[in-house]
Structure formats: C-alpha cells, structure tokens
C-alpha cells in the first residue's frame, strides 16, 4: 500500500471508528461467500440439518466435487469448458475489433467518423436484453440458434469498449510519434501494429477482461438461444440443476449439494483472477470515468 492516500495518511493517523465500520461492511460482502464455501463441504443431509456457518458431521467436499463432475455423464465439466470457450473467443474477438476501431477513432478524421462514433455512443444506452428477441428470431431465420455462434457473435459488439479504447488511445499514443514513423515511410497499418498496439496494451487487457466477464456471466442470451444441454454455459447449466432440484424425490435431492458445490467451484477461479488482475479494472474504470 502506498502512503500517498490523502491528507491524513501523510502523518499516518488511523481512525478506529471508521475502521470498525468498514470491517462490518466488508463482512456483509464476504459472509455470503463464506457460507457458500462452508456449504460446499457438506453432504446433502448436513446442508439441511446443521448451522450454515458450522461444518457438517461429515467433510463431504471431495465427494461433492466428484458428484458434480460425474453427474449425468460429466455435464458440468462440459459446461465449464463451453463457458471458457465462449468467453475466450468473445473476449479475443471483441478486444481485436474494438482496439482497431477505438485507435482509428482517436487517430484519424474521416468522412462519417462523427456519425459512426455518435451511433456507438447512442447504442451504449440500448439494453442488450431488448435486443435478445429480435436477435433470436434473426438467428433462427438463418438456422444458427443452438450453435456457439449464437452466443459468440452478439458478444463481440461492445460500443462501450470502443469508447474506452478511443479515450485510451488518445492518451497513450502520441500523434508526433506516428508522424515520425510516417516520415520514415511506414504504412498506416504497420504503424498501428508496431507502434499503436504495444502502447495500447493495458487498454486491450481491460477490454479483454470486461468482455470475458460479460460473456462468462451471460445468462439471458444462452437461455433463449440454446436448447441442447451439451452447449450450455455453466450459468444456464447450474440454473437447470437448481430447477431440477426443486422437483423433490431422492434423485433430485443430491442435486442440491451439486448446485452449491458447482456454484462454489465456478466462482473460485473468477475470484482468484480478479484479485490478480485487479489493477486492470481500476485503470480501465478510471479511464472511462475520469474523462467525458
């Protein structure tokens, strides 16, 4: 932690009242996840008969993990893999498309640029779920529902990411540097790939992460687009397990623990990734919120 916090940090003062208040707030945000972690170690019976924040009579975490991955011929593993593929392909595609566009909007003036950029800005306001029905019908018309493309193609378009990249490029890439490269006879494309891209690195990572998380979290679109279990991402799969666990009876009972452990297993890598990649969120968010 840097000592440059603010006025008071300079002289190292700390406030007990403020500290305790914020620790209580931190507990509110952490306790549900602690419950999920504890619950994932319990057998289905213990889940219902022991206190939520105490461990159960048996430590069933590994049994649960085995159950999650072997249920219905290994659906869960396939869902995780699907999620990873959808998220990675969308994030790479979106980062490539928006980096090129954001850089060009920042570096060039060309006929129609204002119209194009303003239409992107207007589109930030359009709720993506409002697009889901017409998109579904259009995909159905060309026979592309129930394919990975139905998830990936709509996820490639992030007008907000172009807006972010434009701000980022205007800050990170100096026009004088481009001018020097032009005098040396470099083509515009070569300038973009060899001078622009390396300078845009942190911005690209930010857009990549935003799209990755958005696609990873996607529920509405795959819910309407996919009918085949084996194509589900983990969000839709877990929701389906939860719906099945409501049915009652002995076979559905085990699904309760499966939903809990499956949920826990799917968030652990995300939380780890967030903690490591934290600075990119902060830099990306500040680029979007500091400038107008």
């Amino acid at each position: 932690m840097t000592a440059l916090d603010s006025v008071s940090a300079v002289n190292g003062r700390r406030s007990n009242v403020l500290s305790i208040a914020l620790w209580v707030v931190a507990l509110y945000f952490l306790l549900p996840l602690v419950w999920l972690a504890v619950a994932s170690t319990k057998s289905n019976a213990d889940l219902f008969s022991t206190f939520g924040y105490a461990f159960g009579r048996t430590f069933a975490f590994f049994d649960n993990v085995v159950n999650v991955f072997t249920w219905s011929r290994g659906d869960y593993g396939r869902w995780l893999l699907n999620t990873l593929i959808y998220a990675l392909v969308s994030a790479v595609g979106a980062a490539a498309l928006t980096t090129a566009a954001g850089y060009a909007f920042a570096m060039y003036r060309f006929p129609g640029d204002r119209f194009m950029f303003n239409s992107l800005l207007a589109a930030i306001m359009v709720p993506t779920t409002a697009l889901a029905i017409p998109t579904y019908l259009l995909f159905a018309g060309v026979g592309m529902t129930n394919t990975p493309f139905a998830i990936i193609l709509p996820s490639l378009v992030s007008p907000f990411a172009v807006y972010l990249m434009r701000i980022f490029a205007a800050d990170a890439v100096s026009p004088t540097l481009l001018e020097a490269a032009r005098i040396d006879g470099a083509s515009e494309m070569r300038i973009f790939f060899q001078i622009g891209l390396p300078l845009l690195g942190p911005g690209i990572v930010t857009v990549f992460l935003f799209t990755l998380v958005a696609t990873w979290n996607n529920y509405f679109l795959p819910l309407i687009m996919l009918s085949d279990d084996s194509l589900y991402p983990v969000t839709v799969g877990l929701a389906q397990w939860r719906a099945a666990s409501m049915g009652g009876g002995s076979t559905t009972d085990a699904l309760y623990a499966n939903v809990v452990t499956g949920s826990f297993l799917s968030v652990v890598p995300l939380i780890v990734a967030f903690l490591f990649l934290q600075r990119y969120w902060v830099s990306g968010l500040s680029a979007g919120s500091v400038k107008e």
Binding site: D5, W35, G52, A104, L131, L238
Partner: protein, 312 residues
Amino acid sequence: MPSASLASVHMSTTTTGRDNALPRHYGAAYALTLPFYIVFVLMLVVPLGYAAYLSLFRTRMVGGTVFSGIENYIRAVTDAALLAGIGRMLLFLTTSVPLGLLVSLLLALALDTGLVRAARFVRLSIFIPYAVPGVIATLMWGFIYGPTVGPISQLFSLFGAKPPEFLSASLITPSMMNILFWEYVGYNMIIFFAALRNIPRDLYEAAAIDGANQWQVAWYIKLPALRPALLLTVTFAVIGTFQIFNEPNLLYPLAPASIGTAFSPNLYVYNLAFVQQNMNYAAAIAFLLAAIVAIISFAVQSAFQHRAGSMS
C-alpha cells in the same frame, strides 16, 4: 474562499482540442473501423430495427400475421402487468439504486482518507462480489434466504423466533434489492475510488497549506472530481435496472406466487416471447423499454451537463 478556487482549477483540466491536427488516411481509418462497425450494424442496429418492424404486426389465431400499426404500443401503455413492472423498476431507481450509489461513494471516500486500517483488505472484500456472476449470486442468496438451509432463518429458529419469510410477497422486493446491492456496490465503489486516485496530489498539499480539514477537502476537491464517475455509474445503473432479469427469473421457482411472470419488464418480455410465443407484442415492449432507457439516460446526461455548465 481558497478551496472553491481549487475546485474550479480542477474542473478545467479535462478538455482536449487536437481534432484539427489529425491527418487524413481514409484507407487505414476505414480498414480499422469497418470490421467493428459491420458487426455492430449486424448485431445491434439490425436487431433493433427488426424489433421495431415486428412490433408493428399482430399474429392472429386464424389468418396469420397482419399489419397492426401502433396497436401493440397502445396495448402496452395500458397493460397493467407491464406498468406494474416498470413501476417496480422506477421504485428501484428511486430507492435502492441511489442508496447503493451513496454507500459506494461513502465507502470510496472513507477508503481514500487513509484513516482505515487494513484498507486494502476492506476494498477487495467489497469488490469481490463483482467477480461473482449474477446467476451464482442469485442462486447463493436464494439458499441464504431459505427457510431451512438459510443461516439467517437458522439463527432466528435457534432463539425460538419466527424467521422472516424473505421470499414472501411482502419481502420479495427488498430481498431482490439486497441481492442487487450486494452485487453492484463494490463495482461502483471501485469506479469512485479510481476517480479519487486520479486527483492530483498537489491539490491536497495546497489544501493543507490553506488549512482545509478532511471534510472541506472532500467537499471542495473530491466531490467535484467525482462528477464524471457519478455520471458513468448513474447511467449504468439506469441501464442495468431496466435489464433486471436474472434475479427474478432464478428466484421464480422458489417463490412463484410473489414474483409472478412480470416482476421486471424484461422477465415479462421473456415470458411473452418464449412462453406465450407472442413475439410481436414482446418486440413492441422491448423496443419501448429501449426508448425509456434512452430517454432517462439522456435526461441524466443533460442534468449533469447543465450542472457542469452552471459551475464553470
């Protein structure tokens, strides 16, 4: 007032004016922008236009699909279920959303004072829910609200008290608000925190020399600097609130009676389109929602710009 002048100095540091100096390289400019723009048109503009087109038709039991003009829209503005859903979202926008933003803002300001012990741990704890997908967060809270599995009910029962029924008709709205609050406060807090980090250090030194205290620094330096971040978070909150779907959709099996088919407009659109198969009416509502969001967002932006204009 020395502090007021500090604020105005900060306000004037965000403009750039290099547009006229940019070179003309049309080939490269189009080669770089068109790939995105084509996908943008295909995946965003065309579906939006198609929704508008579909909304002007009506499917009859006998006789197929016929042009019906604005009939679907007339039906929508008098549809009690839709209006109740929109009303519920407006309730979110006027109560839990501002409360969440205020809490995010206060948390960011508190963490930025440097007065909090283990501030990094606190910041990460508050931010972590953002890493949890909304679907998982809702499934998890669904368990936590549960009458037998839920730890809150277990605590009530332990003391022989009757546990609150979180998913009953009277508590479902605050229970839903709590899930959204849990999911988004950390995200907004980080946006505010990042903006606070970008305030030039010398402003604090100047304020210290002028004898300003923490409250004055917060009021005259920090809050004005948070204006763009506030615009961003308010705009996203408006868009996000009208998109609410995951939470009511996933809690529905636990509490079908208190959620119903139209808790949020988006849930209603989903049920109309995929349960009742009434795509035309669903498209009209989807288009109407997009328009409402655009109008509210535009109003938010204008309000901010108006305030900015009167300040400088």
